[in-house]
Amino acid sequence: MRTVLIFIWTITAVALILFPFFASVYITSLFIAILMYIALAESWSIFSGYTRYISIGSAAFFGMGAYTMAILSSKLPLPIVIVIATVVNFVLAVPMGFITLRLRGPYFAILTFGLAEFMRYIVLWWEMKITGTRGRIIMPVEQEAVYYSILVISAIVFLTAYIIKVSRFGLALQSIGQDEERAETLGVSTTFFKVAAFALSAALMGAVGASITPRWTYVDPYIAFNPLISFQPIIMALIGGVGNIYGPIVGAVFLGLLSEVLLIRVPYYFMIMLGTILIIIVLFIPGGLTSLIGKRSQSSPSPILPATPV
């Protein structure tokens, strides 16, 4: 079983690395979008999936990453800017985590949403008053460069999610999600683990934001801090299933392909469908799509938000 898995992963990795040499420009750009969704949904569930602290503020970190790239892209090489964006977001998220993670449930969720909007308005105000611009032009980069940077980041995100899942760190996060008081009583330093996971997830989102931005060639606060970027990872992770590292991938591929087919042609109907899918998942399939395929729910932690008594 283990060798089969390693074999499958090697094949996948080689295929993804060689991919841009064979595929058309359109297919490569589709893959860039799907890899971005995978990385975002997986980074979201690293923190929110285990701890059940639902963050609706992914756009804050994604946007900070995007803006780091917008400011530095003409001055420094691409990989260095991505590393800087990751570090900036990590440093920013540690104090933010300390402050916000004292709240729970809907308070925390709304606070993260408020923070993302707050940062958008601050950046907008800063750009208009201090820099005197509304948006920024970014140095265009070859599509292959964007593809490989997002591929590397997705791989790092996936490996991080895997390591967290099998380590004591992941166990601590799960215990917080199931019963925070009990975890604290049993000696888990809940604040440390919550803040660490929050900052890790934020840093990875910042890296995604920074690496996808050169593809846009133009960025303004409404693009970088778009609330849709906060909602999409949640919906993708829930569709695929949380508490399972493959869930966000399944959700991201499913929704990524769906949005590729529908978003440009019938955007309104696509969004209506997105809302309907979200409601159906929450009401009827709380474990996500992966819970329907593999019935290994005993070994994996309980689904994030069961709507039905377990």
């Binding site: 639902i54 969720a109 709304i110 408020g114 109907y269 809302g275 979200l278 929450v282 938000l305 709507a307």
Partner: protein, 291 residues
């Protein structure tokens, strides 16, 4: 600051505050009773605005009279949403925390659905009409008549609903369910009925607020979310589940916004609201009147 100017600024703040209060009361009623934090409240408000706009542009119906349509239509919509989605969710949820999070996610779904249905029906164009757009004098200040009407109706509904909760028997029943669901069930309250009617009432209040706002501002399918956020700020200031808190909190937020953006810059209006919001959540998450 000279007194006349200060008076003008506070009055325009209070006018918006009255509207925020009505938004917040609708939201808070749903949260206090059912733990449903309806992030799609602003979208229901937007529907109310479009109902008034459509009735006005099709048959020239007076926007005040259109409240008789937007209120009941949204009430029925609220009853159906409760019956279809939340009744099952509330009964099936094993803990309050899970219910709160699941209902929040469902409301996000509703937000997407309603907003995009509105985009299909009315397109993304900015709509609006002119109604009572002449200035009136009030206590030495000059205000557009439409704002004054919108404020008066909003306050009428807010205070009326508060008095209803405080003094009528039906209001007592609602408060009983808010305080202790199982206890009130034991003494014979039909909790499910109270839930569905109050959810409908909350939605109807959103619709009425929307109709009122359409008299003053332009309307688009995207107008809702900022009002939801204002409403959330107000209920967190006044305390989740505290109706009187929402009424007072709405007026306070209106004042803070108008004086704050006067003293700094109108571009910073949303920054000020969010700063207040984040500060309250961090310092007094139970609200100013919270225990």
């Amino acid at each position: 600051m000279e007194f006349g100017l200060f008076f003008d600024i506070s009055m325009s703040g209070l006018i918006m505050g009255g509207i925020y209060a009505l938004i917040a009361i609708g939201l808070n009623l749903q949260y206090g009773l059912m733990r449903i934090l309806n992030i799609g409240h602003g979208e229901l408000l937007m529907l109310g605005a479009y109902i008034t706009f459509s009735l006005y542009s099709w048959m020239g119906l007076d926007p005040i009279i259109s409240l008789l349509f937007s209120g009941p239509i949204l009430f029925l919509l609220g009853l159906s949403i409760h019956k279809l989605l939340f009744r099952r969710l509330i009964q099936a949820s094993i803990s309050v925390e899970i219910l709160e999070m699941n209902s929040l996610l469902i409301c996000f779904g509703l937000l997407f659905i309603i907003q995009n249905v509105a985009l299909i029906i009315w397109s993304a164009d900015i709509r609006g009409y002119s109604y009572l757009a002449y200035p009136i004098n009030f206590l030495g200040g000059v205000f557009p008549a439409n704002r004054f009407v919108a404020f008066s109706v909003a306050i009428l509904f807010s205070v009326g609903f508060y008095l209803f909760l405080r003094f009528s028997l039906a209001g007592k029943v609602v408060r009983a369910v808010m305080q202790d669901k199982i206890g009130s069930q034991v003494i014979g309250v039909r909790v499910l009925k109270v839930h569905s009617i109050c959810f409908g009432l909350g939605v109807a209040m959103a619709g009425i607020t929307g109709s009122l706002l359409s008299m003053v501002f332009e309307i688009t399918p995207f107008m809702g979310l900022p009002y939801t956020v204002e409403g959330l700020i107000v209920i967190i200031l006044g305390g989740l589940g505290n109706i009187l808190g929402s009424l007072i909190g709405g007026l306070i937020i209106g004042l803070v916004e108008s004086t704050g953006s006067y003293l700094t810059s109108p571009d910073l209006k949303m920054v000020i609201s969010y700063s207040v919001f984040i500060a309250i959540l961090l310092i007094r998450p139970k609200g100013i009147l919270g225990r």
